[in-house]
Each structure stands twice: as C-alpha cells, then as structure tokens.
C-alpha cells in the first residue's frame, strides 16, 4: 500500500483503475464476439446522466441510480444495435463513433430540445456546463464488489452455451448461424450487456468525480476504452482488466516525466500493439518477444499472409 502511494497510486487513482477495468470489460464483450464497436463511451454517458439525474434530481440512492442508468442504456442499446450490428469491422467502428457523437450532441442540446417541446425551461443536463455538485458516494468497495460480480459473470459466461456462441460468432458468422446459433440475437445481447456495463461504470464514476459534462464521453474516451481492452489483450477477460489498471496507473506513475508523458504513453501503446500481439495478458506473446529479443531467428517469418 505504502509503495503504491509512493509511486502515485492513491486511493482515488485505484478507484479510477477499477472503473476503467469495468470499461475494459465492457469493450471486451463486444470484441470477443467479433464486433468492433466504439459505442461504449456513448453508453457510459447515457448511464452517467441517467444515474446522476436519478440521484440528484429525484433524490434516489446510488443503487437506484446505478440500476436506472444500466436499464436505460440497455434499453437504448436495442434500437441502436439492431441496425448497426449488421455492419462489420471498420464500418461498425465508424458507425458507432457516429453514434457517440450524436449522443454527445443530443445531451449537449437536451435542455433546449426538451424546453422547446414542453414549452417550459428545462435544466436537466445543463448542456456544456455539465452537472456539478454530484455527491461523492461511490466507495472503493462498491467498485470492488461490482468488479468481482462482473468477473464471476465473465467466468460463467465462458462456460456457458451463450459464451461459446459468442466465440463462434466471432470466428465465423455464417457457420455459426448454420450451427443453429441465432447470430442477430447473440450480437445484440452482447451489445446490450456491453452497454449496461459501460453505463454502470459511467454512473459509478459520476459519483466519484462529482461532475460530468458531455465532452467527457467523446471520441477520446471511446478510444481510451478500446485501448484498455486491446492493450490488456482480449484472449481472456483478465486482459482488459489489466489493461484498464495499467493504462490508468501509468500517467500517475509517470507524473515526474511532465511533458514527456504523452510521448511515453503513445510509445507504450504503439510498442505493445506492434510487439506484443494479443496484448499484455498473453503468455505466448511474451515468449515470442523474448525469443526475438534474444536474437533467436525463427526463420519462418512470412512475407505475406498464409491463407
């Protein structure tokens, strides 16, 4: 503990680490099912705003805000997922970036929009000013408990019929369909689960940082969430967890590097992607890199893909 504090990992940093691990897991779910979706930041904002409005404007306890945020995000994931998840690969990524931007702009203009419809002055999201003065009620144990439950669900998921279907859909959609797997259901279900998880992280985080504004959930946040998952590695669910931890702790540990921090961050992202295929939690990747570092030529580098 003392050591962690000495390198800059205070309790609040640990809390951010736990939240980002949850976000990493929400990204993991979609990636594991072969969907390159960048919608998580958008769902995070939907969760955060719903949760905060419930706790602040309607004086509900945190758990009501949490469940409310998760439910709203989950419900909204259905009309978004149904059309969008037909897209694949980069096209899906771009469409979900678009979704995130639209959500951001709608929250930005929510009050004026609602005001013009109801004819009364609405002050719910407060546009760019954001919501401030949110009570700090998220505790470390809330986050830990949430993460433990999520981890347990991940483990059980992989041992279940549905979890196997997720993997099958990732590897070959048509073949999975021909095996009797309802691909549309599987993808949308996972999309909803991912949205719910991201929303939960959003609610929990809003009650930690005391203030939220639409700008917090833009493209940058979407990319960060992606980085947690990919850097950690998506071969197991532990990867995104570790990715969330490391990428959150890193800027704090590197505080003393001041203006070189960005360069170190970028370099690490690049190095891991380039030299550690499969991310940080992937033993095979490490041994391969180790072999390469020791100069052991494997002699079988392929010039092009092997099909």
């Amino acid at each position: 503990m003392e050591f962690l504090r000495s390198i800059g990992i205070t309790e609040i940093v640990m809390q951010f680490m736990l939240i980002n691990a949850i976000l990493g897991l929400s990204m993991y779910l979609v990636l594991y099912t072969g969907m390159f979706s960048l919608a998580n930041a958008g769902f995070m904002s939907i969760g955060a705003y719903t949760g905060v409005i419930l706790t602040q404007n309607f004086n509900q306890p945190l758990w009501v805000g949490l469940i409310g945020g998760m439910v709203v995000a989950g419900v909204l994931a259905v009309p978004i997922g149904l059309p969008v998840l037909r897209l694949k690969d980069i096209y899906l990524a771009i469409a979900t970036i678009g979704f995130g931007e639209v959500v951001r702009i709608l929250i930005l203009n929510f009050d004026t929009l609602a005001g013009s419809i109801t004819g009364e002055s609405v002050r719910l999201t407060r546009g760019a000013l954001g919501i401030t003065g949110i009570p700090k009620i998220t505790e470390t144990w809330h986050l830990l408990a949430f993460l433990v439950v999520t981890g347990f669900i991940m483990i059980r998921l992989h041992r279940s019929r549905f979890g196997r279907a997720m993997a099958a859909v990732r590897q070959d959609e048509p073949a999975a369909a021909n095996m009797g797997i309802n691909v549309v259901y599987t993808k949308n279900m996972v999309f909803i689960m991912s949205a719910v998880l991201a929303a939960a992280a959003g609610v929990l985080k809003a009650h930690l940082t005391r203030t939220i504004s639409p700008g917090d959930y833009g493209f940058d946040q979407a990319v960060s969430i992606l980085a947690f998952a990919v850097l950690g590695g998506t071969s197991t669910w532990v990867g995104p967890l570790v990715g969330g931890f490391v990428l959150t702790a890193l800027p704090e540990i590197l505080r003393d590097f001041k203006q070189y921090r960005g360069i170190v961050n970028g370099s690490i992202l690049l190095l891991v992607i380039v030299y550690l295929p499969g991310g940080m939690v992937n033993p095979a990747g490490w041994s391969q890199m180790w072999a390469r570092l020791r100069g052991k030529k494997q002699g079988d580098t392929l010039t092009t893909e092997v099909s």
């Binding site: 494997q298 002699g299 079988d300 580098t301 392929l302 010039t303 092009t304 092997v306």
Partner: protein, 235 residues
C-alpha cells in the same frame, strides 16, 4: 546444370513443419509434376520457391543463381513465374489490364503489345472479353486469363499451382490442353496438381510429396505404373 534446383528445403508455419527437406530439379524444356495429398506440402513448396514464403533452410538455385529467400517480386523478375492457386485474377481490372499487369516487370512497350496480341490470338475467348472486368469471367476463363497473364512475363519457368482445382470436368480438360500447348512452345513447367492422373500424363518427370518430403520420384510413365502410387493417388 538444371534450370531449377531445389535442395533440402525446410519451411514451417510457426511450430508446424510443412516442408522437411525437399529436393528436386526441373530441367530445361521439361514439364515436372509435383503430386501428393492435400496438406502434403505441394503448394508450400511452390510458395517457398516463388518467395511467398521464406524457407528456414535449404537452397533454391534458378539458372545457377541462388535465389533462396528472395522476395516474390524479384523472383518473378527473373522469369520464374507462379500462377497461384485459386486463379486470383484482379477482379476489378479489365481482362486487358490484367494482361498488362502481367507484363509489369517488363519495360519494352512494343514487345508487350506484340505479346498481348499473341495472347489474344491464342485465347479468342479472352479477346472477346478484353474490356470486361476479370471478376465477371467464368471460372475457366479466369484460369485462362491467369495463365495468359503469366505468359506476358515471358517466363523462363512457369509454376502452376492446382490449375484444375474446383473446375468442372469439361474445363479441366481445357486447362490441360492449354498446358500441353505451352509445353509445346518449349516453356518449362513445374506443375502442382491434385489430379495426379492428368498431371502425370502431361509431365516428363514426376515427384510425389508425402508429409513434407519427396516419397517417390521418376519419369512420369514409370510413376504411372508404380502400384503404390496407383493405389494411393490414381485410384
């Protein structure tokens, strides 16, 4: 000196050893067939020669020059041309553009034009479709185009990878007619084929690959008589 001389070639995909010491040669003017089961290493052999794969050890000599591990485009530049499995004509280019693309390593515009006319004369079906997108051709026509495209390089040695794969019987016959004709023009051919019977019929010499090594070799007629080969490959 043989035109192509491969000695003790090893190639692996990660941990899987696909070739475990392949040695064979192609003499000038010869048609040599490599036959064997799927996964035995036939295509890997071709790819290791043409530069699509890097062998981990062994030697490839072409016309006396050591080309082991050369990049594919440099190998093609020497006139050692591979027609890949599955035809793979450039679907969004026209037939004519595909043929021009074949002549990519060459710089003599006039010579290319002459060869182009020659190809069109020889494959009237391609001439009819010269402005059509290659992707709209039928399977047989695509194979024709792939071979024609390889001929545009003026190859010193043509390597054909499974030219009859997945083709209707009628087209299989047609493709072998084309190969026979190329053989007549004196262009040496290294033929990798699933259809062992036809491959040995057309070849001067044959090799049988089993699990990454040469199991049998000999003049094509001899192999066709070999009872073991008959039972395993000719049925």
């Amino acid at each position: 000196m043989a035109l192509l001389e491969v000695s003790n070639l090893h190639t692996s995909y990660g941990a899987i050893k696909a070739l475990r010491g392949i040695s064979f040669q192609v003499e000038r003017g010869q048609v040599v067939s490599l036959i064997g089961a799927n996964g035995a290493g036939k295509s890997t052999t071709l790819n290791s020669i043409s530069g699509l794969l890097k062998p981990s050890s062994g030697k490839v000599l072409f016309d006396g020059r050591d080309i082991t591990g050369w990049r594919a485009d440099r190998v093609t530049g020497l006139g050692l041309v591979q027609v890949p499995e599955g035809r793979l004509v450039i679907a969004n280019m026209s037939v004519e553009e595909n043929l021009w693309m074949g002549a990519y390593p060459r710089k003599d515009r006039a010579g290319i034009q002459a060869d182009l006319n020659d190809i069109f004369a020889r494959f009237p079906r391609l001439a009819e479709r010269r402005t059509q997108k290659a992707g709209s051709l039928s399977g047989g026509e695509q194979q024709m185009l792939a071979v024609g495209r390889a001929l545009m390089v003026q190859p010193a040695l043509l390597m054909l990878d499974e030219p009859s794969m997945g083709l209707a019987p009628l087209l299989v016959n047609e493709i072998f007619h084309i190969i026979a004709e190329i053989k007549k023009r004196g262009i040496p051919i290294l033929l990798v084929e699933q259809n062992a019977r036809k491959a040995l019929q057309i070849a001067d010499y044959g090799y049988v690959i089993e699990r990454g090594t040469i199991a049998y070799e000999g003049p094509a007629e001899q192999l066709q008589q070999n009872p073991k080969i008959i039972s395993a490959y000719l049925g």
